[in-house]
């Protein structure tokens, strides 16, 4: 039952959700359709839309990284170019072209695919470091072009448009957030299903084969380069769809949409969720968007916490958050999950304290540095205090040190419980 590989790309055969059955898809669709009834607020829908776009983008990225073994540092190029092109098509619609808005993502996808075809023709010749370096170079190149080729990229202001100018679809003009929400989740489901089904085709499987052992795949009649190229093209298509959805939601695209920072973010999102699982990028995108939007409301330091979470994930759970959950399937199936309940419960309290006190330390430090002169009053977790005083900082440090100490003491016990829960009576881990 153990995973035979330590590479996070190939977490093994454990699946978190059985996506081969129709049920998870139906549940997801129904939940997404009913969601506006529960969280009808404009901001909630905006967050979900942002999540949906990130999910499609991250899934398309995982077609490269997780399924094809290609580490790309420039994937935002395809989402960005798809988005810019969609923006131009949207403006053409405003100028009289007949195209209902729900069809726009197809054009974004085709344009992303076209560029993936062009760039992939040389970048996929080699895998590994060479591929990664070329993707970095192309990413930088396109980002630089976006400032130079003003007619297409709109220079520093970017390109903006109006999504409501197209023909109405069943009386919808997509002016309201709710209508855009339904359009977005429609494409989210189509794209996710499309990418899932792609992974179940001969080319999808051979992409895994080339990832695992490109030499062997060549001796089975497959050109490793062509296999990578095709994954790359398919990935570009879905990234372009994500770009079009971005264009529809925000009605503006700028250089930021295709620069290296965005490319880096999607790598982070995908890895955070877990590259070895189909649902990994979905989990990553949801967590990331929540951190960015919800945590971002409370603290300016959200990026720091995201960074720490990412580091912790890479160091301790290389299979990502999804891998962390999937790890517990085996003890669950063996009926041994009970062994873990008590140690986890004991760990819970100090862990929460460690996180809160650690964050408090950062926030107080940040407040001392950033607040205006004379403004030393700050409020955290519902407590108002003087950030320049010694005791809040001291409390945070003491609580943090003590809780880390407790966690450290408990870790041996958790490890023992884990070994007990996963013990199958055979040798090895």
């Amino acid at each position: 039952m153990s995973t035979s590989s330590n590479s996070p790309l190939t977490a093994g055969t454990t699946r978190l959700v059985n996506l081969n059955s129709v049920l998870p898809w139906v549940i997801a669709a129904v939940a997404l359709i009913l969601l506006p009834q529960l969280f009808g607020s404009r901001s909630a829908l905006t967050i979900i839309n942002q999540m949906a776009i990130t999910i499609v983008f991250a899934l398309s990225y995982n077609m490269l990284l997780g399924q094809g073994g290609m580490l790309s540092f420039g994937h935002a190029v395809y989402m960005g170019l798809g988005g810019f092109f969609s923006m131009h098509v949207m403006n053409m619609v405003e100028g009289g072209l007949w195209l209902p808005l729900p069809l726009l993502p197809i054009f974004g996808g085709l344009f992303g695919m076209f560029f993936a075809f062009l760039i992939g023709s040389f970048s996929t010749r080699r895998a590994g470091t060479v591929f990664a370096m070329i993707s970095l170079g192309v990413g930088e190149l396109v980002a630089a072009c976006s400032v130079i080729i003003v007619i297409f990229f709109g220079g520093e202001e970017g390109v903006s448009g109006d999504r409501t100018m197209g023909p109405e679809v069943f009386g919808w003009d997509f002016g309201s957030h709710e209508q855009v929400y339904y359009l977005t989740i429609f494409w989210l489901l189509i794209a996710a299903l499309g990418m899932f089904l792609y992974s179940r085709t001969p080319i999808g499987r051979i992409a895994n084969a080339v990832r695992d052992n490109e030499e062997r795949a060549e001796f089975l009649g497959y050109s490793q380069r062509n296999v990578r190229w095709m994954s790359f093209i398919a990935s570009g298509f879905f990234a372009g769809i994500a770009g079009a959805l971005f264009a529809i939601n925000y009605e503006i695209l700028t250089e930021e949409n295709l620069n290296l920072a965005t490319s880096g973010t999607i790598l982070l999102v995908t890895f955070l969720g877990g590259v070895g699982f189909f649902v990994g990028p979905i989990v990553g995108a949801i967590v990331f968007t929540l951190l960015q939007t919800v945590l971002g409301l409370y603290t300016e330091l959200w990026g720091l916490y995201l960074g720490i979470l990412f580091l912790a994930t890479v160091m301790f759970f290389p299979f990502g958050l999804t891998g962390l959950i999937a790890m517990h399937i085996a003890p669950w199936k063996m009926g041994k999950i009970g062994h873990l309940v008590v140690p986890y419960a004991m760990l819970f309290f100090p862990a929460v304290l460690a996180i809160l006190s650690g964050a408090a330390f950062m926030e107080i430090l940040f407040h001392i540095r950033e607040a205006g002169v004379g403004d030393s009053e700050m409020s955290l977790y519902g407590i108002t205090f003087d950030s320049h005083a010694i005791w809040p900082m001291a409390t945070a440090i003491v609580v943090f040190v003590v809780s880390v100490f407790i966690i450290n003491r408990l870790s041996a016990r958790v490890k023992a419980a884990w070994d007990e829960a996963t013990h199958t009576g055979r040798a090895g881990s």
Binding site: S4, S5, T201, G204, R205, N213, E218, F219, L220
Partner: protein, 252 residues
Amino acid sequence: MSAPAIELRNLEKSFGLAKIIQGVNLSIEKGERHAIIGPNGAGKSTLFNLITGKYTPTAGQVLMHGEDVSGMKPFQINRKGLSRSFQITNIFHNMTVFENVRCGLLWSMGYKYSFWHMINGQKALTEKADEIIEQINLTSRRNMVAGALAYAEQRALEIGITIAGGADIIMLDEPCAGMSHSETELIVDLIRKVTEGKTLIIVEHDMGVIFDLADKISVLVYGEIIESDTPEAVRASVAVKEAYLGTTLEDA
């Protein structure tokens, strides 16, 4: 008379200044079981890699059924009906036994780069894969991850993947390396069974296996073929004895 399955004409390969293969001429007839033997460092693996397209010859030609294939890529040569196994087990460790064999079948069954077939729904493909798994006696391991198989089972799977595509020339690079005596016997029986009616080219250190399997033996020493004949003739050859210091063949 039809062209030989494999013909090597003045084949040479150098890495920098080192001449590893120095003008090899060899002709392997269709349906022949041909073994290549020689001391360590003689260039057996290099010769293998030249025939299968992993290396490009420095000079000379590789002909397959009379057609010049020198300089072609491995996948192109594979599509023409040549398949190989590897000295170091070279399977897809993270896939199940079934998926491994299925990967070996995909191209030959015409799926190529298809993204319009659902792979699990292909009945003929699944049946064919199961048939091969049964041939290599791994039916009970069908859904196990290949990396978790015992070594001998991995070697059997390697052969299964190699023959899956239905190639008519099979090249096996030390299929019995690192195996116990009884495992070797099983794998030799397997090789004999699955290469029935095909051309077999085999590199192997175990002389028992060689003399058991081969119709013809070529002896490669320092990148040159010093003898290419029937097992009996090779066994009697003085030149070969000298190359092997007169020990190994006597033991066989």
